[in-house]
Amino acid sequence: MSKKILLQHINVPGINTLETYVSHGGYQSLKKAFSMTPDEVTEEVKKSGLRGRGGAGFPTGMKWSFLDKKTDKPRYLVCNADESEPGTFKDRYLMQNIPHALIEGMIVSSYALGAKTSYIYVRGEMMHVIRILEAAIKDAYRAGYLGNNILGSNYSLDLFVHPGGGAYICGEETALLESLEGNRGNPRNKPPFPAVWGLYGCPTVVNNVETISDVPWIINNGGDAYASIGIGKSTGTKLISACGNINRPGVYEIELGLSVEEFIYSDQYCGGIPNGKKLKAVVAGGSSVPILPADLILKTANGDPRLMSYESLSDGGFVSGTMLGSGGFIVYDEDQCIVRNLWNFSRFYHHESCGQCSPCREGTGWMEKVLHRIENGHGKMSDIDLLVDVAKKIEGKTICPLGEAAAWPVASAIRHFRAEFEEHIKNPDSCCKKHLHSEHALIH
């Protein structure tokens, strides 16, 4: 059994309530953190090697140290709970089952950053989570963990939950801040980064739910203890939301460094592929990361076993690697159609593009339309190179990473499964007809 940090008490009945959470060691980190200076808390997080769990994997302690502390302006901590990446559902699971883990993390992190007001920006569709968090925050206020002079420490914090308007783009940190300010959720041009010019023009740190929830454990047990878990620069544990063609879909907390093969086939985790089918491909970190075929996800191009870590998954760059991303682990068996899956992803990015900058606004729609045509048996051979070229012309030219998120799946699917696209075009009846008789065809 590997180390559990976030989901250690997940099976304790009533862990969603304040009393049970406290009786299982909850809110212990507050006293310890308040006995340290804010800089010491930041230093401890730096030592832990904790990296952003939202997808980019940026070292959290370093992000905190970039916060502009010279200005007189107030500072803010904003928790990004706008989890809407297809395949990712770890934050929702954590918030609805152990809401106080996030609240405790918010208090300690806000203290480290000197924030007097903090926000949790929750995806608008997750109304039930918003209600759970609001109730939990009320309890925390009542118990004196929030509000004025928390536990007699002279530190005061107000914590607010803010429902999003239902846009994937608001998971991008600057679009999130715009949305929080009450504006249209368009990403901002960077620089300036939020650490200098964030919410209401004040220095702001935006962190993922899982990242913030990891902080109390780090304070309780020390940064070095956290750094000893995991492998190399991928320290600690990670929540992985596994779905697709596996026997046991769900959210798993793994120690970083677990082998992908074990994760897919071990009964402790995904439990293998149902009906004795073969593994075809895996999207390892949410829909935005490159898809990898079975041979490359189990072993790197050098033949080393692929591990669940930031470094191992990105081994080989985009030619033969992928990314850990947000931990949305989607498994495809041999019967799944890559073209259809890619069209579905492209449809999502087309729908979610904010429309602010031209390459993403026009390019995502273009890719979706071409893929729709191929999937429905009207493709041409030249369409494949067209898709590659359009993806290339979006990547790196946009304001925010949504452009890349839309381009990478297209580029990687064609890189690894070009033959399948060609088969769709040459022989539309063979594959597409099968789909026309399947239940999915009803979508059209």
């Binding site: 602010q356 031209s358 026009e362 995502t364 729609g365 273009w366 339309k369 030219k397």
Partner: protein, 321 residues
């Protein structure tokens, strides 16, 4: 403060701190990046169209680490010792070609019936940076024309979502009733509930619009722009100062617009009264010919000389040969 040194396409210039790469390139004056959304007189514009992308090969002397990266030149501030490639980089030209293609895939290309043709930034841009043919064969986005008052016609199908008209309404007029609705390629400029855009300076949205999405209802379909001659003119106006450009054909003023600099940016915004209500020659004191020296279809060797006009006795010369 000390001036900052920047090298763009092997030409070096010193600029004051706070200058953007685009402004520095414009100071050099040749081969500056195009801009479809950035607009100097309006704050916060820029960064959206991505045609001004340039490649920064070195960010500063203090940090000479090469960072070959495409950045939006309209928003990126110059750092000392910065080295930038614009038209010398094939990567930049490729990216720009890509952006032009993206801007055109949903554009109706109805230039033959568009009032903006001849003075359209998108037209000029695609002549310079676009490809001859399109690879796009899917259906194009279409919108119904939206009526936004007596003076202005909004034709969203042509819009490239530069947001300039939104910033104009925010910063030049005293009330904004239009904005961007919806998202992605369904995003549109609109007033949400059918609302007329009507205040003293609303007409300026026509001038800032880089394409034919916002056109002058009182001028629409009356004339191709290149058949009328622009003259600097002024009148006494206590709202805007009355410094404008009048477009004359057969001794009649057929249109009034604001004055623009060589980068196509409005120098001084004018009021609706000057723009829409004073079309009589007696209303205006005509000055000299309005020289168009930016790349434009209007001045693309079309006019070597101007026919003598009895009403205006000026030495008219459009294009220096």
């Amino acid at each position: 403060m000390d001036k900052l040194k920047i090298t763009i396409d092997n030409r070096t210039i010193e600029v004051p701190p706070g200058t953007t790469i685009l402004q520095a390139a414009r100071m050099i004056g040749e081969n500056y990046p195009p801009a479809m959304c950035y607009y100097t007189p309006l704050k916060e514009t820029g960064g959206k169209c991505r045609v001004c992308l340039v490649k920064v090969t070195q960010s500063s002397e203090a940090n000479p680490r090469p960072m070959p990266k495409l950045v939006a030149s309209c928003l990126t501030k110059v750092e000392n010792g910065m080295v930038v490639e614009n038209e010398t980089s094939t990567e930049v030209l490729e990216a720009r070609k890509g952006v032009v293609e993206f801007l055109l895939i949903n554009h109706p290309l109805d230039c033959p019936i568009c009032d903006q043709a001849g003075e359209c930034d998108l037209q000029n841009l695609s002549y310079k940076h676009g490809t001859e043919a399109t690879r796009y064969e899917e259906g194009r986005r279409e919108f119904e024309k939206i009526d936004i008052g007596d003076n202005i016609q909004l034709h969203m199908t042509r819009c490239i979502l530069c947001y300039r008209c939104v910033y104009t309404a925010d910063q030049i007029t005293n009330s904004r009733v239009h904005g961007v609705l919806n998202r992605g390629d369904a995003a549109e400029i609109g007033t949400y509930i059918k609302n007329a855009i009507n205040n003293d300076f609303s007409g300026n949205v026509i001038d800032v619009c880089p394409v034919g999405a916002l056109t002058d209802k009182k001028y629409r379909f009356s004339q191709r722009v290149w058949f009328s001659k622009p003259f600097y003119a002024h009148r006494n106006c206590d709202k805007c100062g009355g410094e404008a450009v009048v477009w004359i054909k057969n001794n009649d003023i057929i249109r009034v617009t604001s004055r623009k600099d060589k980068f196509g940016e409005v120098i001084k915004f004018i009021c609706n009264e000057c723009r829409f209500d004073h079309k009589n020659m007696n209303d205006w004191s005509i000055e000299n010919v309005y020289e168009l020296d930016n790349d434009s279809v209007i001045n693309a060797n079309k006019y070597k000389h101007v026919e003598e006009s009895p009403a205006v006795n000026v030495d008219a010369k459009f294009v220096s040969e």
